[in-house]
């Protein structure tokens, strides 16, 4: 097999800050090379350099043994190097087909060959076992379908080198399986693949070669064969990982949240449940089961009917502010679009929810500054510069900032939607510790997660939702992956049926 | 209806004397298309158009009028097409928003045998219209210029405020310049005040900062004259210079009547020309009076002595 793209001693500086300290990385045709590391380890920067989005400050890129410098991503793409982003590069207003062929439309003369493009788009999607209509607007697709469209787009371009930035972060297990099969097929067809994921089992399953980065440094590159998940984690974090989940706290008797006959029209119906002080309550279910909608309805982000009582007092519906004042906050799963202002600095993000605590007429900027220092310490947010934009933080640090933002409102009840999506294992552990510490302090937490180990590891009680209804509740030793899945899919014996 | 316009005395006199002789059975519809009232002069023009229509409808029951005011040339073309298509007009009185774009639509109207009266701004192709009624832009500039040349001494300084850059403005300013040529008057500066009070105020403020000695201002329009006078009074230099506006706004005429030393005279450019045009057109339809041809309303100097004749307190302009 031949070396396609080779990076030697890559150093990258942003201003005075060096984020990559001499990283070597090779991509070979017909090989899947995994790049792993914690958030902020420099994976994204490395991938962007390989994909032509950034140029290295020092070091050399070689394409087929010849030194190259990509002036832009277009040049890299012309050389057959394609990157699939975690944040999709799709035009939401255009259709699937238009997106797949964007910039390389098939045409005869002045006119577009719609049917040819549609057929090919359908073929490409079928290879991914994705059956959306090519005429659908991408904006109307679910996140996982968008991911498939993004991959189909790369497939359509016959990439020699495919750089995939956490492609499975938002996919269900079934979709993940399908995608991994596809990637293996691409490898067998001779494509060089760079693959990143925080899910180490995936790495184990498909990678041929694994490179670990830590704090911008090259830690190790070795064949995946015989590289255990634990060893990978240790290499990434730089220390032994003790048990991932802390001990579960025992909830108190007091009911802090009581939801009855709650319906979000068109999304979910008739949910009733209670949350106790000091409890971690898990909400499991398939994507689209209505968990997020239920929680958004409860805190007033969606029009809904039904009754919500916080500490026994009825909650004014439709007002996020009222919920926040009553001590109930919701941490969105979509931190980039709904959680943080990516173009604003850390302070403005941190204090946005609880701004009234910093003066009702004049904002006390010194107090804000102190709050930021406090948050950086409390939540171990790794910042390069206190004035940096939230968008420049790595995913894990964004999540910590979002947590800090919500906690600044001093809530009694915290609803966390997908607390660790797209986050590395070290940060995950920190967040798990944080959640159980909250419960231990007598706060109450609801965790929505699609990662079953997370739900099982954190929650003392689990409510499973399926198709817009509460399908059942599990507690103690009954909380197992199997029972959760059966409930989520409607008690069917046949687990192949999915939403 | 006591309101009487001197300028169109001749035509109006004819109309009144030759009043309904033969009560004809035929009914006539006259379409009137004029620009919308976006500034003082057009406001006056709109007022005079409506007033004359009201009066004519009262006098001649067999006449019907369709009045359209348009904000731009395209809208005016649409209005004219609608009048022809849906109202079956027998005559069209039009003040073209712009000459070029209106020429062929008006020509099309003419080709259907409809009487066409063009007011103020001529069409790009001569000879389309049956009747042409207009103010005299060259005369407007010249009359003002002659007053300046006569009144000022050799070496006196003046500043000029021009209107919106158009042919009409050029004609006026060229005629003014020609009239003061050889008189030894210095034109310190000319800037566009866009026939707008606020713009004229700003321009005049800047003139006053720039020049220490100004003997007179040709503001060329009474809206601009209002702004100019205010700027002068702010600078406390009212004693130093006088101002000549134009078009005969009622407030300005009133001040001339009262003998304001800052406003010695004014030059007419009557918005009432539209009334003249409508009345002559009506007359042509209801009677056998020959009314075709060109009818240029000369610009006159308004002085404290004759100002009363030009004062219409009811007009918005």
């Amino acid at each position: 097999m031949t070396l396609v793209l080779q990076a030697d001693g890559i150093i990258k500086r942003f201003g005075p800050i060096e984020v990559l300290h001499g990283v070597d990385f090779d991509l070979t045709a017909g090989q899947i090379h995994a790049l792993i590391g914690e958030n902020g380890a420099g994976k994204s920067t490395m991938m962007k350099i390989l994909g032509g989005y950034l140029s290295p400050s020092e070091g050399q890129l070689m394409l087929d043994g010849v030194p190259v410098q990509f002036k832009s991503q277009k040049e890299a793409e012309a050389a057959g190097i394609l990157m699939i982003h975690q944040e999709f590069n799709l035009a939401l207003q255009l259709t699937v087909e238009e997106n797949i062929f964007l910039g390389r439309e098939k045409r005869s003369g002045l006119f577009l060959k719609h049917s040819a493009m549609r057929d090919e788009a359908r073929d490409l999607l079928a290879r991914l076992d994705c059956h959306v209509d090519p005429r659908t607007r991408v904006g109307d697709l679910s996140v996982s379908d968008r991911q498939m469209v993004e991959i189909a787009r790369a497939l359509g371009r016959n990439a020699r080198v495919l750089i995939m930035d956490e492609p499975t972060a938002v996919l269900t297990n079934r979709e993940t399986d399908m995608l991994l099969d596809q990637i293996e097929q691409l490898r067998n067809a001779g494509t060089a693949v760079l693959y990143t994921s925080h899910k180490l089992d995936e790495i184990r399953r498909i990678a041929d070669l694994v490179t670990v980065l830590r704090d911008g440094g090259h830690i190790v590159s070795r064949p995946a064969e015989g590289f255990s998940e634990n060893d990978m984690a240790v290499a990434m974090v730089g220390r032994e990982l003790s048990d991932l989940f802390p001990a579960k706290a025992k909830p108190q008797e007091e009911v802090v949240l009581e939801v009855e006959n709650f319906t979000v029209p068109g999304r979910m119906e008739n949910a009733s449940f209670r949350l106790h002080r000091g409890e971690v309550l898990g909400f499991a279910g398939l994507v689209g089961a209505g968990r997020t909608e239920l929680m958004e309805g409860i805190v007033g982000l969606r029009p809904a009917t039904g009754s919500v009582k916080v500490m026994g007092n009825p909650l004014q519906q439709g007002s996020v502010l009222a919920a926040c004042k009553a001590g109930l906050v919701y941490l969105t799963e979509d931190r980039k679009d709904k959680g943080l202002l990516l173009g604003k600095n850390l302070t403005e993000n941190l204090t946005l929810l609880a701004l009234d605590r910093f003066g009702s007429l004049r904002i006390d900027k010194q107090a804000e500054d102190r709050a930021l220092s406090q948050a950086i310490d409390d939540f171990d947010i790794r910042v390069k510069d206190r004035e940096m934009n939230a968008g420049s933080l790595s995913g894990g640090n964004q999540q910590k900032l979002l947590l800090a933002k919500v906690m600044l409102a001093e809530p009694e009840i915290v609803i966390i939607d997908e607390p660790t999506r797209g986050i590395d294992i070290g940060t995950k552990q920190q967040i798990y510790e944080f959640i159980s510490a909250l419960a231990a302090q007598g706060k109450s937490v609801i965790v929505i997660s699609s990662e079953l180990p997370e739900i099982i590891g954190l929650s003392g009680r689990v409510i499973v939702m399926g198709r817009g209804h509460i399908a059942g509740e599990l507690s103690g030793a009954d909380i197992t992956e199997d029972r959760i899945l059966r409930l989520a899919m409607g008690v069917g014996e046949d687990t192949k049926e999915t939403a | 209806m006591k309101r009487r316009s001197i300028i169109k005395g001749a035509a109006l006199g004819l109309a009144m004397i030759a009043s309904p002789v033969v009560a004809q059975d035929a009914n006539y519809t006259i379409g009137v298309a004029i620009p919308a009232a976006t500034h003082g002069f057009m406001g006056g023009l709109n007022y005079h158009a409506r007033a004359s229509i009201e009066r004519l409808e009262a006098t001649y029951p067999q006449l019907d009028f369709v009045l359209a005011t348009s904000g731009d040339a395209g809208k005016m073309v649409n209005d004219i097409e609608d009048m022809v298509a849906t109202r079956n007009i027998d005559a069209l009185v039009v003040l073209p928003f712009e000459s070029e774009p209106l020429t062929s639509p008006v020509q099309a109207v003419k080709e259907q045998g409809i009487w066409v009266t063009v007011v103020d701004r001529g069409l790009a192709v001569p000879g389309i219209e049956d009747l042409y009624v207009a103010g005299d832009n060259t005369g407007f500039g010249r009359t003002a210029g002659e007053y300046f040349a006569k009144t000022l001494k050799d070496g006196d300084n003046i500043v000029v405020l021009r209107g919106i850059p158009t042919t009409l403005d050029n004609e006026r300013v060229d005629a003014f310049s020609a009239a003061i040529e050889g008189s030894g008057i210095n034109v310190l500066d000319m800037q566009h005040g866009n026939w707008n009070r606020d713009d004229a105020f700003d321009v005049m403020q800047d003139f006053l900062s720039k020049f220490d000695d100004i003997d007179a201002v040709w503001a060329a329009d009474d809206d601009m004259a209002v702004g100019v006078l205010e700027a002068i009074s702010q600078a406390g230099r009212s004693e130093e210079m006088w101002v000549v506006g134009g078009a005969g706004m009622k407030e300005i005429i009133k001040r001339i009547m009262d003998g304001d030393p800052q406003l010695p005279v004014n030059v007419t450019y009557p918005p009432a020309q539209i009334a003249t045009a409508i009345e002559m057109t009506a007359l042509g339809l209801v009677s056998a009076t020959p009314v075709s041809g060109r009818f240029i309303i000369g610009s006159q100097v308004i002085t404290p002595e004759n100002a009363e004749k030009f004062y219409f307190p009811d007009s918005p302009f």
Binding site: E348 | R162, R197, Q205, D206, D223, V226, Q234, P316
Partner: protein
């Protein structure tokens, strides 16, 4: 932000200083072309005539920062001026000419501005019609209304009331005329509100990402409506300063003020699509626009036909100078 300057002394930042440099360059140019340029009279003239658009542009800064736009302010100013004049003329028999009449007129102007802004805000925030469409519509409505109220001509304030009211534009304290004082006060309060109050912070958050604002317990509808109401009230305030100048309002009052105000906001570094605004920049933008006119009048170095072109070039240049900072996004 102020701490930033102390803690990390940044290198020369064109993004921040662009408009300021353009202003300084214009002032130097003006001073070199005409010795009266920096004289008391001219400086007072320029500042006072900037005041109307300036006061409005400060309000516009908040609307644009919050992700909105208002095209109706020029027409609205004309309409409010017309209503104010009619109301004052009508009140003379009751109140006589004196301070109560002026105060009543000011109250009418502020109320009319408030209501006009409220209408815009209500349609945009509650009924959820595009701001561009709503304000384009109200632009036409107010322009027609003022033309109709004035019967196509000019509405003039009663002569005696006018003489009494006139000092509000022309006089002041310590040689600084009232419009300048009011403009300065509005600008300073606006700057404080933008930078140091939850209102300003919330506007920027709303303009940056409405979803995040909503998820951060910000009452998005009320906030958005608030920006339009604030702008309406400031239009009323600008009108209070405008009416005593010429004592009249007509269909040609305030034509294109909306575009001048928007241009001033953008020249000042506020982002047109929202999310970031700065009031001091807007003030500089307004001054730049006024100075261009002033210098062209004072200098007459180019054909007056080209005034618009020169303005256009300077406006674009002032914005180009700021690009450096933004492209690093």
């Amino acid at each position: 932000m102020s701490k930033l300057a102390k803690s990390s002394p940044r290198k020369f930042n064109l993004h921040v200083l662009g408009p300021l440099l353009a202003l300084v360059a214009l002032i130097l140019l003006g001073a070199s072309l005409n010795s009266n340029f920096l004289g008391y009279g001219n400086v007072t003239n320029v500042l006072a005539r900037s005041a109307f658009i300036g006061i409005i542009a400060v309000g516009m800064t908040f609307v644009i920062t919050a992700g909105g736009i208002d095209l109706s302010v020029g027409s609205m100013a004309a309409f409010v001026a017309g209503v104010m004049i009619l109301a004052m003329n009508a009140l003379i028999p009751i109140l006589g000419v004196g301070v109560p009449l002026i105060v009543a007129g000011m109250g009418v102007a502020l109320l009319a501005g408030f209501l006009a802004g409220f209408m815009n805000g209500f349609l945009i925030a509650k009924i959820r019609i595009e701001a561009f469409i709503v304000t384009l519509g109200s632009m036409g409505i107010y322009r027609s209304l003022i033309t109709w109220l004035s019967d196509g001509g000019t509405l003039s304030l009663n002569f005696e009331a006018r003489s009494f009211y006139r000092p509000v534009y022309y006089d002041g304290i310590w040689g600084v005329s009232w419009p300048i004082i009011v403009f300065a006060a509005v600008a300073i309060l606006g700057e404080l509100a933008m930078r140091h109050t939850p209102f300003g912070r919330h506007c920027a958050a709303l303009g940056a990402n409405e979803q995040v604002a909503k998820y951060s317990a910000i009452k998005v509808d009320r906030l958005r409506m608030g920006t339009y109401v604030l702008l309406g009230v400031l239009v009323g305030l600008a009108t209070i300063m405008y009416v005593p100048r010429l004592g009249s309002a007509s269909g040609s009052t305030g034509v294109l003020w909306e575009l001048e105000a928007i241009a001033a906001v953008i020249i000042g570094g506020t982002v047109l699509k929202g999310g970031f605004g700065r009031v001091w920049g807007t003030v500089i933008g307004v001054l730049i626009l006024s100075l261009i006119d002033n210098i062209l009048n004072l200098a007459s170095i180019v054909s007056p036909y080209l005034n618009g072109a020169i303005q256009g070039v300077i406006v674009i240049l002032a914005v180009v100078l700021q690009r450096e900072g933004k492209s690093a996004k």
